[in-house]
Symmetry: C2
Subunit: 289 residues, 2 copies
């Protein structure tokens, strides 16, 4: 979100997704009371013209859509496990990491909405799952979710711990952070390992002209024939419902758990956002307006 | 070659490929006078048992094979355009970069045996080809081969020059060098760009515990959804002849030119090797014993 904002002029509405409730309507297809999921930005009220929105072409999920039928589950899931983060986890893992049962996966930023979700899918698929995160509380939660091992990078040495937990090396790496943590993980990957670059939170504060440096990756990418690919989930826009339905099925079957860190009050949006970047949230950071 | 040697104990024969002539034989299938291409290492004479060699299982091209029928072309081509480097260029470009006509490719280490070969195939396929190398003499040769543009990285600023030559960005990058040159190129790549990591010569001198640092790649890999993959040509061992035959066809059609830097005398092997690492060769470095 922060790097996206850099592309827009200062002064525009901060970008962000909402589950909004229709409170007034002149269009019978959009009745009062129904909920819409959309990129409305940071605001309490939005006036939209569905025709204009529908004409927004290629990227299906950049248009608002009705909250899927998720029964008694909280509507906020459409911003988490049953929305963009859930689909990011699902497609990023399946399509970029292409995990196989018995393999070892490492996930950085593992206690975030995407990371925790990826780890649980990977467990469902029969992988050994190692999560890297920034507090003992997060480690504990990930272990409750079924992660085989966790590393609090603030207190444990990543390289030595990985060598102990996964002496045979790592097959898949789901990267949410970039920087030195990632370099350390990647240098312990095995032949034909796959790296999904989903986020790079360690670099978001840096100016693009003064990005941090880390050990070059080419030697290990070359000799272990690794594949590293960045992705934005919108590339699977046409398969959006497949992801939501699969994740909903896992939730219903008790195979996928979620957690939200809910901040109340629109006026606390800014603090919630900065807190998320500082690692204060566990699971999806939600602001309830 | 240097990093490979690090894996073996000091004192073993230096690894390396040869076109060897059979001078004595007790096996009628291997008559005196025929030539064999093999990984015999740095030596003037080799005694081998074909049965033992043939039992070397999985990696077909790690076994010696008879020099292919290349007519009046020099046998040393089996170590260059019609051998490992030629197949590295062919498979690395086709299978990892997956180039499309009209795209822009950048090649580093472009005046080496692999780089010059990749550029010519890419021209045959209808790409715009930009080569990065380390002398004006090399630039001149690459332009004679049909490269659309060249950059002498020792005298020209890579970033500014690329912005001028390829303002729309780069689709494919064939990387032979790693390090800062590669970082600069990769930060100018377009959406869905592909990077083939074929070599990392800028890091071969470093101890593995003190590799150089460069700007982290995750931000650009993420936002431009780039794919970066390392490869060793042996993964296409089963398609070895396909590569040789295709390259031979291009040579016969005048669409693929090669150059060799030939050093005479076994005793000059060491200097030839160090000279190659220092960029003294143009095209394939050959030692004629």
């Amino acid at each position: 979100m922060r790097p996206y904002v850099q592309r827009f002029p200062v002064g525009i509405t901060m970008i962000g997704s909402q589950v909004a409730k229709i409170v007034e309507s002149k269009n019978p297809n959009y009745p009062v009371g129904r909920r819409l999921v959309g990129h409305f930005g940071w605001r309490t009220h939005t006036i939209i013209n569905p025709k204009v929105e529908e004409s927004k072409s290629e990227e299906v999920n950049s248009r608002p859509y009705f909250l899927p039928n998720i029964g008694d589950l909280p509507p906020s899931l459409a911003l988490g496990a049953l929305g963009m983060p859930g689909n990011t986890a699902y497609f990023g893992l399946m399509e970029i990491c292409k995990p196989k049962p018995g393999e070892v996966i490492v996930i950085s930023g593992a206690a975030g909405a995407v990371g925790a979700h990826v780890g649980q899918i990977a467990k469902n698929l029969g992988l050994t799952v190692i999560g890297i995160c920034g507090s003992d509380e997060k480690c504990k939660w990930l272990e409750e979710l079924g992660f085989d091992a966790t590393i609090n990078y603030k207190t444990a040495p990543i390289a030595a711990t990985l060598r102990k937990i996964a002496p045979q090396g790592i097959d898949c790496y789901f990267d949410n952070v970039g920087g030195d943590i990632s370099t350390t993980v990647i240098y312990q990957m095995r032949l034909f390992g796959r790296i999904a670059v989903c986020g790079s939170i360690s670099t978001y504060s840096a100016d693009s002209s003064s990005l941090p440096k880390s050990t070059v990756l080419q030697p290990v990418i070359l000799f272990n024939q690794l594949k590293m690919e960045g992705f934005i989930v919108r590339r699977w826009a046409k398969r959006w419902n497949e992801g939501i339905e699969q994740n909903l099925r896992w939730i219903r079957e008790g195979k996928l758990h979620y957690r939200e860190t809910v901040t109340k009050g629109f006026e606390n949006m800014f603090d919630a956002f900065i807190g998320m970047l500082n690692g204060k949230n566990i699971g999806k950071a939600i602001v309830q307006v």
